[in-house]
């Protein structure tokens, strides 16, 4: 192992511009990856950052109102589900949110829970009986237009033709306004930044007269954990380069997939060792030499230049993960035994070896 660590440090040292990515690991692994990237003078990104970047983009451009899942479970009486894939990243979330009716709040307790599913898929996933769902047919590409129409109707503005009939739009706006504590649920992966911004604007507008919040749905790959950790460590959410000696953020320039496919990055350090997530070979694996920090037994078509077998975060060792139902970090004790080291140990060892080798 020590030899592999030294060889990796040497390989990174010879790299012009490495990218540290994947980041499907626990918080300790993510933090170790940040440190390694800083020492290596590379760029850092998460394999699924594109699935949450529409949220990041909208949040920092215009702000948002956001709710915790548990509060929505207890309080939301009217729910606007946005897009056919709203629950795709977390299929168990409806069970958590809607198994019972609201039980908190004078205006919401006992009144039942209703949902409008804007752009519902033809095969609506099974939802708990405690929620009444009305489907609103809308082509996926028309969802943001529909949100804009609803927002206009809410404000009493005129609006043109769109994916929904005007009367339907007015009725939805009125229904939303009638919520005691409403919530819009959406998957950032299924929208672009402007779409999320439109939805955020609608939620802000609804709060002029009633209470309404929103809930983005994340997958389990720890992309949001990586956003949070890089933000407190560097000031920026992922897609940050250390090549100039300080954190240099650019959401387009330092997107890992782009760096690899354009050849700007000449080496990738890929971390994928998280229980319950897909550890498949990245699609760009053949285009750049890869140092893989993955769970035991992963087999790639394009063999990594150097591979480390590590334990699975979330199962084989104590750790911390971001949990989408909690909306924050949770401690996760080990539930299985594995002699392999955690990804964080390997990444820290490489960073230490690289740091020692670096010229003063």
């Amino acid at each position: 192992m020590e030899e592999a660590v030294r060889a990796t440090a040497d390989r990174i040292g010879r790299s012009r511009f490495p990218v540290v990515t994947g980041l499907a690991t626990d918080l300790a692994g993510i933090k170790a990856a940040i440190t390694l990237c800083r020492v290596a003078g590379g760029a850092i990104d998460h394999a699924t950052s594109k699935e949450i970047y529409p949220l990041i983009s909208a949040l920092r451009d215009g702000g948002m109102m956001l709710g915790a899942p548990a509060e929505i479970r207890r309080r939301a009486d009217r729910v606007l589900i946005v897009g056919p894939d709203a629950f795709a990243p977390a299929p168990d979330l409806p069970q958590f949110l809607f198994s019972n009716g609201p039980d908190l709040g004078e205006r919401t307790t006992g009144g039942g829970r209703q949902a409008l599913w804007l752009g519902a898929p033809s095969d609506v996933p099974h939802l708990p009986k405690a929620i009444t769902v009305e489907r609103v047919g809308c082509p996926e590409e028309g969802i943001v237009d529909a949100l804009a129409m609803i927002r206009a109707a809410l404000a009493g503005h005129r609006f043109g033709d769109g994916p929904l009939p005007a009367e339907r739009v007015e009725a939805i706006a009125s229904w939303l306004k009638g919520a005691a504590f409403g919530c819009a649920i959406f998957s950032p992966a299924a929208m672009d930044g402007l779409g999320v911004e439109m939805l955020a604007g609608l939620v802000f507008d609804l709060n002029a007269e009633t209470r309404f919040t929103s809930l983005p749905v994340f997958g389990p790959e720890q992309a949001y954990a990586a956003v949070l950790a890089t933000t407190w460590s560097t000031g920026f959410p992922l897609r940050t380069s250390f090549a100039r000696g300080f954190p240099d953020h650019d959401p387009q320039l330092f997107e890992a997939g782009r760096l690899v496919t354009t050849g700007e990055a000449d080496l990738a350090i890929h971390v994928a060792a998280l229980d319950g997530t897909n550890a498949a070979e990245p699609e760009w694996a053949g285009r750049v030499p890869v140092i893989a920090v993955t769970a035991t037994g992963d087999a790639w078509i394009h063999t990594p230049e150097i591979g480390f077998e590590v334990a699975l975060a979330g199962r084989d060792h104590d750790g911390v993960l971001f949990d989408g139902t909690f909306g924050s970090f949770v401690p996760v004790p080990a539930s299985a035994e594995n002699d392999a080291p955690p990804a964080s140990d390997i990444l820290a060892a490489i960073a230490a070896a690289l740091g020692e080798a670096a010229p003063c």
Partner: protein
């Protein structure tokens, strides 16, 4: 190794010490001069320097979900730091965990309290705190808008049962004390209530803000938690109503200790043609007359910053003044909160009067052991503005120069020009060292007596007090030299101070059932285990007084 700090002017009001003398350090602590004449392994020449204990900040939002959301919302802050060092107000924000530790240490601060940790994001807060280098940290856990507590009060549960709940929460979240933020106000806002005062009742519970504060005050006092209940009053920032809320809360202390946070934000009357006036003098007189009350100020300084608060109702209302015009509002369990950027302008009548009100309070509250030095970072200003505030307190000539730059309409509404008081070094050391340590119940710091941890700051005195306090000549953390001539020279790791009050086991069982049945969450997610922090020995337990 024995170390001797030689010939420094020691200002240590906790031990009644204001003399030129030597100070000896060994094994991270302050020790008596060696009786056997043993030679120190190292001598630091402190001749001409002012030597104080490391400073303690009791109220600074340095970690947690809301703080991190502010970073996320405002990448432009950090960009300013990178591209224009030294040239902008934002250049010194200290925006990352790393920068936070370094910038505090450079000013001689060695302990900082994050005052608003939600139970549901306690682990997140501690994870960030663990990444802040050099300084020791602590947190106050937020209660007072939570369903469980309000339900207990509504149902008339016993003081013991409520104390058990508070003890469990403090212990699980690894806090050093309890804070109450607009008690009941966030819960009421979720019911679409937009104005909430001290005697208003939270819908669905029939429990008033006053009742929540009094209940928590009783629990905190009864548990022997040294730090009094830390109260963020109702109606923050609302002209007239804010001062009334502070006045009512002070009156409600009723002989038991109570700490009011960032009093400046409540010092607003509704007089004058702009319906915005100073209540600074009146609130200062109330504090002077009420011995059980302590306050911190939350001084406003001019420039771009961001407000970060678990007062969701207030933050939602405040988003109308957001600059830049974007904000994030959270509907979380219990308090929720919000992040609203703010640009305090010297040319603004309102902002300039806020600045003056903060200084009125600082200067008119007579006892420096009952008024604490804060900007409510980053709400009034980034903590990196502290050196300028020291100068404003210690030098009326500096105040005069600042006053001359304000809109003339402000000068008619503040008595600040008439105040001649200048803080002495002893008063500064009391306010930022001795008194905070007493308030927090951390007897191992805030002074330079035998046995104290060797957290020490030495300053080079001069007429320019901002320069003096902005760049410490030497700072020692646990006896290790960490800052020299205003530059960090050693990046050690501090720890987080916590209490571990014991709750009845039946309460733990009851909460397990409650979190599972009501929220669908395991109670252990609200607990912060050592292993999760990812550091050896991350916590230092401070005993309760009982």
């Amino acid at each position: 190794m024995l170390m001797r700090l030689k010939d420094g002017h020691i200002v240590d009001p906790a031990n009644g010490c204001d003399v030129v003398a030597d100070l000896f350090i060994e094994d991270g602590h302050i020790v008596d001069p060696p009786a056997d004449g043993r030679a120190p392994g190292e001598i630091i020449d402190c001749k001409g320097l002012i030597v104080m204990a490391g400073a303690i900040d009791i109220h600074s939002h340095i970690a947690g979900g809301h703080v991190n959301t502010a970073r996320l919302l405002l990448p432009e802050f950090h960009r300013a730091f990178q591209s224009r060092p030294g040239a902008t107000a934002l250049s010194k924000v200290g925006w990352t965990t790393e920068e936070t530790g370094l910038r505090y240490a450079e000013m001689g601060f060695t302990t900082v309290v994050e005052p608003a940790m939600a139970p549901s994001s306690a682990l997140h807060a501690h994870l960030e705190l663990a990444d802040i280098p050099i300084i020791d940290k602590a947190t106050l856990v937020v209660l007072g808008n939570d369903d469980f507590l309000m339900g207990m009060i509504r149902d008339g549960e016993s003081e013991n049962a409520i104390a058990d709940y508070v003890a469990w929460t403090v212990s699980a979240s690894r806090a050093l004390g309890v804070k109450c933020i607009n008690a009941g106000g966030s819960a009421a806002f979720k019911e679409n209530v937009r104005q909430f005062g001290f005697d208003d009742e939270v819908p669905d519970y029939g429990v008033s803000s006053r009742k929540i504060v009094k209940t928590l005050q009783t629990a905190v006092t009864g548990l022997g938690i040294a730090h009094p209940l830390h109260v963020h009053c109702n109606n923050l920032g609302v002209p007239g109503d804010s001062a009334a809320a502070a006045e009512a809360t002070i009156a409600a202390a009723e002989g038991l200790p109570l700490h009011l946070a960032h009093l400046q934000f409540y010092g607003y009357g509704a007089e004058g043609k702009r319906r915005f006036s100073s209540e600074g003098q009146r609130l200062a007189e109330l504090v002077n007359a009420t011995e059980e009350i302590t306050v911190d100020i939350g001084q406003v300084m001019f420039g771009q910053t961001v407000t970060v608060s678990a007062d969701e109702l207030r933050q939602f209302a405040g988003r109308a003044q957001a600059s830049p015009r974007k904000s994030v509002i959270f509907d979380h369990e219990a308090n929720g909160g919000g992040v609203v950027p703010m640009d305090y302008k010297q040319s603004s009548y309102f902002n300039a009067l806020q600045w003056a009100i903060g200084l009125e309070l600082f200067l008119l509250i007579k006892d420096p052991s009952r008024v604490f030095f804060t900007t409510d970072h980053p709400n009034g200003a980034p903590f990196t503005a502290y050196p300028d505030i020291f100068a404003l307190l210690m030098d009326r000539g500096v105040r005069q120069r600042w006053l001359e730059a304000l809109p003339k309409s402000v000068l008619e509404m503040t008595i600040l020009p008439e105040i001649t008081r200048e803080y002495t070094l002893k008063e500064i050391a009391t306010m930022t060292r001795a008194a905070p340590a007493r308030l927090l119940g951390t007897a191992d710091r805030g002074h330079l007596g035998k046995g104290a941890i060797a957290d020490i700051a030495a300053y080079r005195p001069g007429d320019d007090k901002a320069a003096m306090f902005g760049r410490a000549a030497y700072v020692f953390k646990d006896g290790t030299l960490v800052v020299q001539d205003g530059q960090v020279v050693n990046r050690v790791a501090g720890r987080t101070l916590t209490l571990r009050p014991e709750a009845d086991k039946a309460m733990a069982k009851r909460l397990e059932t409650y979190f599972d049945e009501r929220y669908g969450l395991p109670a252990r997610w609200f607990e912060v285990p050592d292993y999760a922090i990812g550091r050896d020995d991350p916590f230092k337990v401070v005993p309760c007084r009982r």
